[in-house]
C-alpha cells in the first residue's frame, strides 16, 4: 500500500532580504485510500507544501524528509516524482501555447504509464472521462489552458487526475473560483478516483465548502508553516463555525 511520509519538512523561498522560511517542520503521513484535508488561512503555507511536494524550483528544502513507499521524493526531479505517482492539481495551471489538450494528455499518459496507450482504447478512455466531467469533445483540440475559463481549467486538472491515476493526489485549492455546479462536477471526479481506493488524497483548501462533496477522513489545520491541529471530519465543522481566528491569534503563529 502506497504511503507518503512527510517528516519535519522545512522549506524556504528567496525573498528580497535573503531566504524566508515558509514551512517550519511539517509532519504528515498519507496512505493510499485515505483523504486528508489541509485547511488554513491565506499565507499559512498550504500551497507551498503542495508545490514543494511536486518539486517546484522556487522552493528550497532546508530540512526534513519526504518519502513515497520509502523512496526519497526530494531526490527526484519534477517529472520523476510525477512518474513515481505524485500528482498535483494546480490552483493556477499555466497556458501552454501550441500544445493541444489531446496531444498533451497522451504524452503525459505515455510518460507516466511507461508506454504509449493503445490508440483506440486511449481515445475511448479520454472521451468517456471527458463526458463524465461534462466537457465538450472540442476541448481536446484546444491548446492546454489557453483561453480556458476558471471552471474549464479545474475540470482539465481533474481529467488528468482521472487519466493518470496517481498514488498520491494533491489538490491545491481545486475549489477556488468554481460555481456550485462546477464544484459538484469536479468533486464527483475526485470521488471517482478516491473510490478506486488506490489513491491517497491531500485536499488543500481555504473553505469548508468542498468538504460537503468530498468527505475527508482526516482534517489538519495549517497555520504559520505547520500543522497545528489534527482531527476527524468534525474539525472541519468547528472551522466552519469558528473560522481560523483561534489559530492565527494564538501561539501557533510563532
Amino acid at each position: 500500500m502506497a504511503t507518503l511520509e512527510i517528516h519535519d519538512l522545512h522549506v524556504s523561498v528567496e525573498a528580497e532580504n535573503g531566504p524566508r522560511e515558509i514551512l517550519k517542520g511539517v509532519d504528515l503521513t498519507v496512505k493510499q485510500g485515505e483523504t486528508h484535508a489541509i485547511m488554513g488561512p491565506n499565507g499559512s503555507g498550504k500551497s507551498t507544501l503542495a508545490y514543494s511536494l511536486a518539486g517546484h524550483p522556487k522552493y528550497t528544502i532546508t530540512g526534513g524528509t519526504v518519502t513515497l513507499d520509502g523512496e526519497d521524493v526530494l531526490e527526484m526531479s519534477v517529472d520523476e516524482r510525477a512518474r513515481a505517482g505524485v500528482f498535483l492539481a494546480m490552483q493556477y495551471p499555466v497556458e501552454v501555447p501550441g500544445v493541444s489538450v489531446s496531444n498533451f494528455l497522451r504524452t503525459s499518459a505515455t510518460a507516466v504509464r511507461g508506454e504509449a496507450p493503445k490508440l483506440r482504447l486511449w481515445v475511448k478512455e479520454v472521451k468517456e472521462a471527458m463526458e463524465r466531467l461534462s466537457m465538450d469533445p472540442a476541448f481536446a483540440e484546444r491548446n492546454v489552458n489557453e483561453g480556458f475559463s476558471g471552471g474549464e481549467k479545474k475540470r482539465h486538472e481533474i481529467l488528468q487526475l482521472e487519466l493518470l491515476k496517481p498514488k498520491i493526489a494533491i489538490l491545491d485549492e481545486t475549489d477556488s473560483g468554481l460555481d456550485v455546479d462546477a464544484l459538484r462536477t469536479v468533486s464527483e471526479g475526485v470521488n471517482r478516483v478516491r473510490e478506486s481506493g488506490e489513491v491517497g488524497t491531500l485536499l488543500i483548501t481555504h473553505y469548508t465548502r468542498i468538504l460537503r462533496y468530498i468527505k475527508p477522513d482526516h482534517v489538519h489545520v495549517f497555520a504559520a508553516g505547520r500543522i497545528v491541529e489534527s482531527g476527524g471530519a468534525e474539525l472541519a465543522d468547528k472551522l466552519e463555525a469558528e473560522g481560523y481566528e483561534e489559530y492565527t491569534k494564538g501561539g501557533a503563529t510563532l
Binding site: S77, A82, M90, V94, V96, G98, N103, T107
Partner: protein, 393 residues
C-alpha cells in the same frame, strides 16, 4: 469595414495601423526602388529599413566590397512540361515581378552574370516539382531566378539553400491569369552563411500564389518576400517558419502591395528562438491603395522564445487608403516558454527535453498543417525534429 487587431505580448513587439494619405512604407525607405546599386546610399545601420540588421555580418554585401568569388553550385531540375534557359539581364522577364527595394537586392541585380528562367507553358500542370538547389561552396555569389507560369499553368517549386556562402539573389515569380504556383524556399545553410535577397511575385488575374519560406540555418538571413497584383482576383498565401538559434540573425521583411481591386492576401509567419543572441526580425507591411477596393487581407506573426538571451522584433504595419474593403487585420504576439510551463509539463511526468520538443512541435504543426502539400509538410516536420535533436545535443 476594416478591422484590425494587435496583441503585443513580448517586449519588443510593436504594430501600427495607418489610415493616411501619406505612405509610411514608402517614406521609410532610404531610396526609391531601383535596379541600380548606385541609386542606394551605403547603409550605416540607423535607417528604418536597416536598424535591426547587423551590417558588419553582411560580409560586404551592403557596401560593394563583396565581389563574386568561388560561388555556389546551382542546379535546376525541371520536370517534363517545363523548360529552363539562361538569359541576359535585358530579357524582359528579368526583374519584371519587382524592383529591388534595398541596396543588397540592387547589388544582386547589378552583379549577377546570367539569369535562369524556368517557364511552365500555359495550361500545363506539372506533376513533379521544379527543384532548384543552391549549394554554397564557401564563396560569394550573386544570382537571379525567374519562374514564369503561363495562363492556367500549375507548378510547385522547391528551392533549397545549403552549405556555406555569401549569397545575394533575387527571385521573380510571374503568374499568368488563373495560374497556381506554390513555392517552398528552404534556407538550411551552414552556420557561417550569409543570404540576402528579394522574392517578388507578380500575380495575374484570378491566379493563386502560395509561398512557404523556411529559415533554419545561416549566420544572417535577410529576405524580402513581396507580392503585387497584375490584375483583379489574385490571391497570395505567405507562410513562413524560422528556427533561430544562438548567434543567428533571421530577418523576414514582407510587403503585400494591394493596388488592384478584389485581391486577397494572407500571411502567417511563425518563429521559435533559443540561445544567446538569437535574433529574429519580422516586418509585415500591407498597403491597401485607394484603387484596391474589395481587398481581403490578414497578417499574423507569432514567436516562441524558448530561452533567455533571444530577441524578437515584430512589426506589423497595415496602411489603408480605402474603406471599401472586405477585411484587413493583423496580429503579432511573442510568447515565452517559461519555467512555469516547463514545470507544468514535467509535473505530468514529461521529461524536460521532451516538454520543450512538445511545445515547439505543436507551435509549428499549426502552421505546417496549412501548407496543404503532404510531401512538404512531412519534410518540414522531419526537419524540425532534426533541429530539435541538434539543439538538445
Amino acid at each position: 469595414m476594416a478591422e484590425a487587431q494587435n496583441i503585443p505580448a513580448g517586449s519588443t513587439t510593436t504594430g501600427s495601423i495607418a489610415v493616411a494619405a501619406e505612405s509610411t512604407v514608402a517614406t521609410r525607405m532610404s531610396a526609391p526602388p531601383s535596379y541600380d546599386v548606385a541609386d542606394f546610399p551605403v547603409p550605416h545601420g540607423r535607417e528604418e529599413e536597416w536598424r535591426f540588421t547587423p551590417l558588419a555580418r553582411l560580409k560586404g554585401l551592403h557596401d560593394g566590397t563583396a565581389v563574386t568569388e568561388g560561388g555556389v553550385l546551382v542546379s535546376v531540375e525541371t520536370p517534363a512540361g517545363a523548360t529552363q534557359e539562361t538569359v541576359d539581364r535585358d530579357d524582359p522577364r528579368v526583374g519584371r515581378a519587382g524592383t529591388p527595394v534595398d541596396r543588397v537586392a540592387a547589388q544582386a541585380y547589378t552583379s549577377f552574370e546570367k539569369a535562369s528562367v524556368v517557364t511552365v507553358p500555359k495550361d500545363t500542370q506539372l506533376t513533379e516539382p521544379i527543384r532548384i538547389d543552391v549549394q554554397g561552396q564557401g564563396g560569394t555569389a550573386f544570382k537571379h531566378h525567374v519562374i514564369e507560369l503561363g495562363a492556367f499553368a500549375e507548378a510547385v517549386v522547391v528551392m533549397d539553400h545549403t552549405g556555406d556562402a555569401t549569397f545575394a539573389a533575387n527571385v521573380d515569380y510571374l503568374l499568368g491569369d488563373g495560374a497556381k504556383l506554390t513555392v517552398v524556399s528552404v534556407q538550411d545553410w551552414a552556420d557561417t552563411a550569409v543570404h540576402a535577397g528579394q522574392h517578388n511575385a507578380l500575380i495575374g488575374r484570378d491566379a493563386s500564389f502560395k509561398s512557404v519560406v523556411v529559415t533554419f540555418g545561416g549566420d544572417l538571413v535577410r529576405l524580402h518576400p513581396r507580392v503585387t497584383y497584375a490584375a483583379p482576383g489574385g490571391e497570395a498565401e505567405l507562410y513562413g517558419l524560422y528556427f533561430t538559434e544562438a548567434g543567428q540573425h533571421h530577418e523576414h521583411r514582407l510587403m503585400v502591395d494591394h493596388d488592384t481591386p478584389n485581391c486577397r492576401s494572407h500571411v502567417t509567419y511563425k518563429g521559435a528562438l533559443q540561445g544567446d543572441d538569437a535574433h529574429a526580425v519580422w516586418i509585415g507591411d500591407v498597403l491597401i491603395q485607394a484603387a484596391a477596393t474589395g481587398t481581403d487581407t490578414y497578417e499574423l506573426n507569432r514567436n516562441l522564445v524558448l530561452t533567455d538571451g533571444a530577441r524578437v522584433d515584430s512589426v506589423p504595419n497595415l496602411e489603408i487608403e480605402t474603406g471599401e474593403i472586405v477585411g484587413a487585420g493583423h496580429a503579432s504576439a511573442t510568447g515565452r516558454f517559461d519555467d512555469e510551463q516547463l514545470f507544468y509539463l514535467m509535473a505530468r511526468g514529461i521529461p524536460a527535453e521532451e516538454a520543450r520538443r512538445l511545445v515547439v512541435r505543436g507551435f509549428f504543426a499549426e502552421l505546417i498543417q496549412q501548407i496543404g502539400l503532404p510531401d512538404v509538410e512531412e519534410r518540414l516536420m522531419a526537419k524540425i525534429e532534426a533541429e530539435l535533436e541538434a539543439a538538445a545535443a
